[in-house]
């Protein structure tokens, strides 16, 4: 990671080009969590797969998360429309969407549990079972595939010692295949949590994994 001072994602600072403050850009209704000062954005929780709490039994939408939930709900006309961001938030808090979580979100939004299950299972980016601290998504779509995605995937599986879709014994890594990650100019692309690693080849894999474990050790 670079030593450059951290900037919130989505806010490039005051470039002088626009007469806008950060609050104007993000809006008061910004529902994401700003990362703690000095931390990498991957520790923030504004996207799916940002598994900050990772506690499958974390209380859903309580305290500050209740405010975030209410902001989300107020932005959408119907409960059905608010379901996706509500599930994002739930996954952020609990690391994955368990049946219990679906049920809780359903009763919170006044939808049927079955409907929530249908939505949660439709989208692959909701984890239906617990994943490791790092969710490694290797793109195997055309561009990456031509440039050796299969070897990269095999290397990740080999060095983490897991099967595709399973979590390593230490609970650190889950390796999955992804369809296009929209970085076709830089194959092979690997998304780890919400960070992109581009131009990855099989021999980079041990280094990447070492970097991740070092990050974990550093806390």
């Amino acid at each position: 990671m670079s030593d450059a001072p951290f900037r919130n994602p989505g806010w490039a600072g005051n470039t002088g080009e626009f007469d806008l403050s950060e609050d104007d850009v993000r809006g008061a209704a910004y529902a994401g969590e700003r990362p703690p000062e000095g931390r990498h954005p991957s520790t923030s929780a504004s996207y799916p797969f940002m598994l900050v709490e990772r506690d499958p039994y974390a209380p859903l939408f309580e305290g500050r998360h209740k405010e975030r939930y209410e902001k989300i709900r107020s932005r959408y006309p119907t409960a059905m429309a608010a379901l996706l961001p509500a599930l994002n938030l739930a996954q952020e808090l609990r690391g994955h969407i368990s049946p219990e979580t679906m049920d809780e979100v359903a009763s919170l939004l006044g939808l049927s549990s079955a409907y929530v299950r249908g939505v949660a299972t439709f989208y692959t980016m909701y984890n239906k079972r617990p994943v490791g601290r790092f969710l490694i998504q290797v793109c195997t779509n055309i561009s990456c595939n031509i440039c050796g995605a299969d070897e990269v995937l095999a290397a990740f599986l080999e060095h983490t010692g897991t099967e595709l879709g399973d979590t390593s014994d230490d609970g650190n890594f889950t390796v999955v295949e992804a369809e296009c990650l929209a970085a076709c100019g830089f194959p092979t692309c690997v998304q780890i949590n919400e960070r992109y690693f581009e131009d990855v080849s099989a021999r980079d894999v041990p280094n990447i994994l070492k970097r991740l474990t070092d990050e974990l050790a550093a806390g």
Binding site: S113, A114, T121
Partner: protein, 534 residues
């Protein structure tokens, strides 16, 4: 002005070369139906919303760049529609090929075989040979609870079942889980359909064999079943049904469309309770004589002897016990006979009453009523008084100790003991089953059930509805209206009824509530009793 008004309400279009005029807002699929052209469809069902997702009802509309889904495309003036053009046929063949990619083609063991839309359409228009070389994905089956079993491999993902539970039962228990070729219909994990009292309808509306009834599973083939228009006998709503019979046994009940009564639906309670129509051990021949003196007889001798006893008893006090499972024709003939034979003290009947009613939220006309018998309202209109408690027991003390003429029709007297009718001067028991309480009967006469005769019921809406004969009665069992009407005619010297229509005509004559109705006019859809509401 009137002309303009009429023009604004209808549109005229051409479908497959035939001109047709339909009301504005009619879908192309419906407009084609009025011409007798069936456009294949899966996801569209007249009782549900149309998501246009099955893509098999696409038709060619001249001027439109692409094929149009006929279930949601509204008919417009001057449209020229082709359902059988080369383009439409080629498209349907392609869609059907996709439907068969993972379909197991297990028609020989599938319950839907013979009434399956996938089977029909593929047979009509599908490819002669499959081109698939890949292995098919396999799901197996899933028990949804209740009476419903789900075979994921056969499913065409029309989501009719999901929409029925959502829109009509208003109980969003079903959903599409996963996507692509992994998609299946499921409930919320193990929660199932238990307790959903209208869930059986999803089996009816499933166009393929994905949702099947556990009760009917592997019981009969669709092409072996005879269908008879009838009325559900399990509550006073009187849903219009078809009796599906084979080997003189009822195999299942299916709802028959009637927008005034039950729409396309019926409840699981009504659907499940048909085995009593198949119960063995019926009364098959008349018997004469009390207690130990009882001996088998035949109709000629029994009726002759009974006629003489009734003629002797002239002027006696008469009590009759009817049944809410008896047709109007039977109940009225009973009343007419009682009035002829002497002084009618009381005509009573008993019926079970459930604790609450169970409406279908998305089609509130349809309610599983509290009265769990088909003709409670008819019996009331024909002058019978309801007695006894909510279990359909008790209330017969006066009848049990009556010392005049006692006639019991259709009530099995299950809660009565052998002393019933001991004091009666003449005790006639007409029923489908023998009963310990019929021991003192001078005459035991076998009757047919409603499924073995023709007749009418009056439902809770005050609607006269006809049922037709779907089964042969056992032995020499006869309809009650025929037996009672013959006796009454013998007493008065009038004409005896020879058909249910005659018996119905006599009801119309005797009761103002039935005024103006004719047998043919009741038809398949029934007719409202105006007077019942007044």
């Amino acid at each position: 002005m009137a002309d303009n008004g009429r023009k604004a309400d209808t549109v005229t279009l051409t479908i497959d070369g035939h001109e047709v005029t339909v009301p504005k807002g009619t879908s192309l699929l419906h407009a084609a139906e009025t011409l007798g052209v069936e456009v294949p469809h899966y996801c569209y069902h007249p009782g549900l919303s149309a998501p246009a997702q099955c893509r098999i009802c696409l038709v060619e509309v001249e001027g439109a760049p692409k094929l149009q889904p006929s279930c949601v495309t509204m008919a417009q003036d001057g449209q020229v529609v082709h359902t059988e053009s080369a383009q439409a046929r080629r498209m349907r063949q392609g869609v059907l090929e996709f439907y068969l990619v993972n379909h197991p083609l297990d028609c020989p063991i599938c319950d839907m075989s013979g009434e399956c839309k996938l089977q029909d359409y593929v047979f009509n228009e599908g490819r002669e040979h499959g081109r698939g070389r890949e292995p098919k994905r396999v799901f197996g089956r899933d028990d949804f609870g209740g009476d419903v079993l789900y075979y994921g491999d056969r499913c065409v993902m029309c989501t009719r079942c999901v929409r029925f539970m959502d829109e009509v039962a208003r109980d969003g228990r079903l959903t599409v889980v996963e996507r692509g070729d992994r998609a299946v219909i499921d409930t919320f994990f193990e929660s199932g359909l238990d307790g959903a009292s209208f869930a059986g309808n999803i089996v009816d509306i499933c166009p393929v064999g994905a949702l099947v009834s556990k009760d009917f599973l592997h019981k009969a083939r669709a092409w072996d079943l005879d269908h008879t228009e009838s009325v559900c006998p399990n509550c006073s709503q009187g849903c219009n049904i078809d009796l599906h019979t084979r080997d003189n046994l009822v195999q299942r009940l299916k709802p028959r469309e009637n927008p005034e009564v039950n729409g396309h639906w019926m409840c699981d309670y009504g659907r499940a309770n048909y085995e009593w129509l198949n119960r063995p051990g019926r009364l098959e021949a008349p018997a004469v004589g009390r207690g130990d003196k009882r001996r088998a007889s035949d109709w000629q001798h029994a009726l002759h002897a009974l006629f003489e006893r009734l003629a002797e008893a002239e002027g006696a006090s008469v009590r009759v016990v009817g049944s809410a499972f008896s047709s109007n024709e039977a109940l009225d003939a009973l009343r007419a006979l009682a009035e002829q034979a002497g002084t009618l003290q009381a005509g009573v009947f008993r019926a079970r009453r459930a604790e609450d009613e169970d409406p279908l939220p998305g089609f509130p006309i349809l309610v599983r009523r509290r009265d769990l018998a088909p003709n409670v309202d008819g019996a009331g209109i024909l002058g019978f008084t309801r007695v006894g408690d909510d279990d359909g027991t008790g209330g017969l003390e006066e009848a049990a100790d009556h010392d005049g003429v006692l006639i019991v029709v259709g009530d099995e007297l299950a809660d009565q003991d052998e002393s019933f009718g001991a004091k009666a001067g003449l005790f006639v028991y007409l029923g489908t089953f023998d009963s310990p309480a019929a021991r003192n009967a001078d005459f035991v006469l076998p009757l047919t059930t409603f499924a073995e005769e023709e007749g009418t019921f009056v439902n809770a809406q005050g609607r006269v509805q006809r049922f037709r004969q779907g089964l042969r009665g056992p032995g020499t069992a006869q309809p009650a209206w025929l037996v009672l009407g013959t006796l009454a005619a013998a007493l008065t010297g009038g004409d005896r009824p020879v058909s249910a229509a005659d018996a119905f005509a006599s009801i119309v004559q005797r009761h103002a509530a039935f005024g103006g109705l004719i047998w043919e006019g009741v038809g398949s859809a029934g007719a409202a009793l105006e007077a019942a509401h007044a």
